[in-house]
């Protein structure tokens, strides 16, 4: 029961792991992605991606700038141009 989360920048694959939930700052509002989310695509605004490793755990925040997020059958992929861990 986990969501596969990938964070990719032009320079490298920053993150590729199974997590509980990820909250992504979409252009039209933040959205949380859990496992089994419907296919979805959104551009993102500059902000923080919050990664919840497991239910109830404190989120880990990663600052991203410019890009988009895609939810498909194989999980969530965030393509960001700049990432500050």
């Amino acid at each position: 029961m986990a969501l596969h989360f990938e964070l990719v920048t032009p320079e490298k694959l920053v993150r590729s792991q199974d997590v509980h939930m990820v909250v992504v700052p979409g252009t039209e509002g933040e959205f949380g992605v859990l496992e089994g989310h419907a296919p979805f695509m959104s551009t993102i605004r500059d902000g923080n991606v919050q990664v919840y490793a497991s239910a109830g755990s404190a989120p880990e925040t990663i600052a991203v700038k410019g890009g988009f997020a895609e939810v498909g059958a194989n999980g969530l992929t965030v393509l960001a141009e700049h990432v500050e861990a």
Partner: protein, 290 residues
């Protein structure tokens, strides 16, 4: 015949040249590994972006509402050739090959009656292109001061190109850059940069994807990113090609220097022997005469 001293000096000079080429070869080998790793690390982003672009472009198609970067200006008259060269020499025929490809493209377009402008990235392409097409050289981007080429440079180049496109400076842009195949082979290639050619659709998932904002807005957002990624990829390929070509060229140079040293050493020893023999004959002849 060269004197002993001259030969000795010559050997010394070739030896020091060999030291330089050998050092450069080792530096290039180390840098090549790094450049290759960087090129590989950049691949996932490009692939994802191409896949998303492909599926979106297939949906929106060439409709009128498609962003200008994808649909183009509608004309096909003014072409811009973005030529990516290296900043440093000592890399064999790499730059010559890139310039040759760029010139071939330019000649082909000119023969079709199109207008051609160059946009030069990297120092080493400027002089040879200037020789043939001095009037056609437009702007350029200098990367010589940058130590580690990164996404910032690609962003800056893409921003300038897109600005030029929006200002109507050209209709079609092509990117000429070397593709790194191995340390021995770097293939100069030309790809269309603007308008963005629709990438091949990798997978056609049946699922209905929801878009936020709508497809066209996302596509408009993605098109400039795609241009950036293409340029970034070209810069990385250039980096790897430069180091690869440099390594091979310097390896050859080191070997040639070695051969030359051997040859000169034999010549030196022969002359020395000859000098000794002459001296001996002189002494013996002198002794006999007494």
């Amino acid at each position: 015949m060269a004197s002993l001293k001259e030969l000795k000096d010559r050997i010394k000079s070739v030896k020091s040249t060999q030291k330089i080429t050998k050092a450069k070869q080792m530096v290039a080998a180390a840098k090549l590994r790094k450049a290759q790793a960087a090129a590989e690390a950049a691949r996932p982003y490009g692939e994802r972006l191409a896949a998303v672009m492909g599926s979106l472009a297939a949906k929106v198609g060439k409709s009128e509402s498609a962003p200008k970067l994808l649909a183009g200006t509608g004309a096909d008259q003014r072409h811009l050739l973005v030529v990516v060269n290296t900043d440093k020499g000592l890399c064999g025929g790499l730059n010559a090959n890139i310039v040759k490809e760029a010139k071939a493209q330019a000649k082909k377009l000119l023969a079709e009656g199109k207008d051609v402008t160059f946009y030069l990235v990297g120092k080493k392409g400027r002089a040879p292109i200037k020789r043939d097409f001095e009037k056609l050289i437009g702007k350029g981007y200098d990367t010589s001061a940058v130590r580690n080429i990164g996404f910032e440079e690609a962003e800056a180049i893409a921003a300038e190109l897109i600005e030029m496109f929006d200002a109507g400076a050209f209709d079609v842009a092509h990117l000429v850059y070397p593709i790194f195949q191995s340390a021995l082979a770097q293939e100069p290639t030309t790809v269309q940069l603007i308008p963005v050619p629709a990438p091949e659709v990798a997978e056609e998932s049946g699922a209905v994807v929801e878009y936020e904002p709508d497809e066209e807005a996302i596509l408009a957002e993605l098109a400039p990113r795609y241009v950036k990624t293409q340029i970034f990829g070209a810069l990385l390929e250039r980096e790897a090609s430069e180091q690869g070509a440099s390594m091979t060229a310097m390896d050859n140079a080191t070997r040639n220097a070695g051969e030359l040293i051997d040859k000169l050493t034999i010549q030196y020893n022969r002359s020395r022997q000859a000098a000794i023999t002459t001296e001996l004959i002189e002494i013996i002849a002198g002794a006999e005469a007494l």
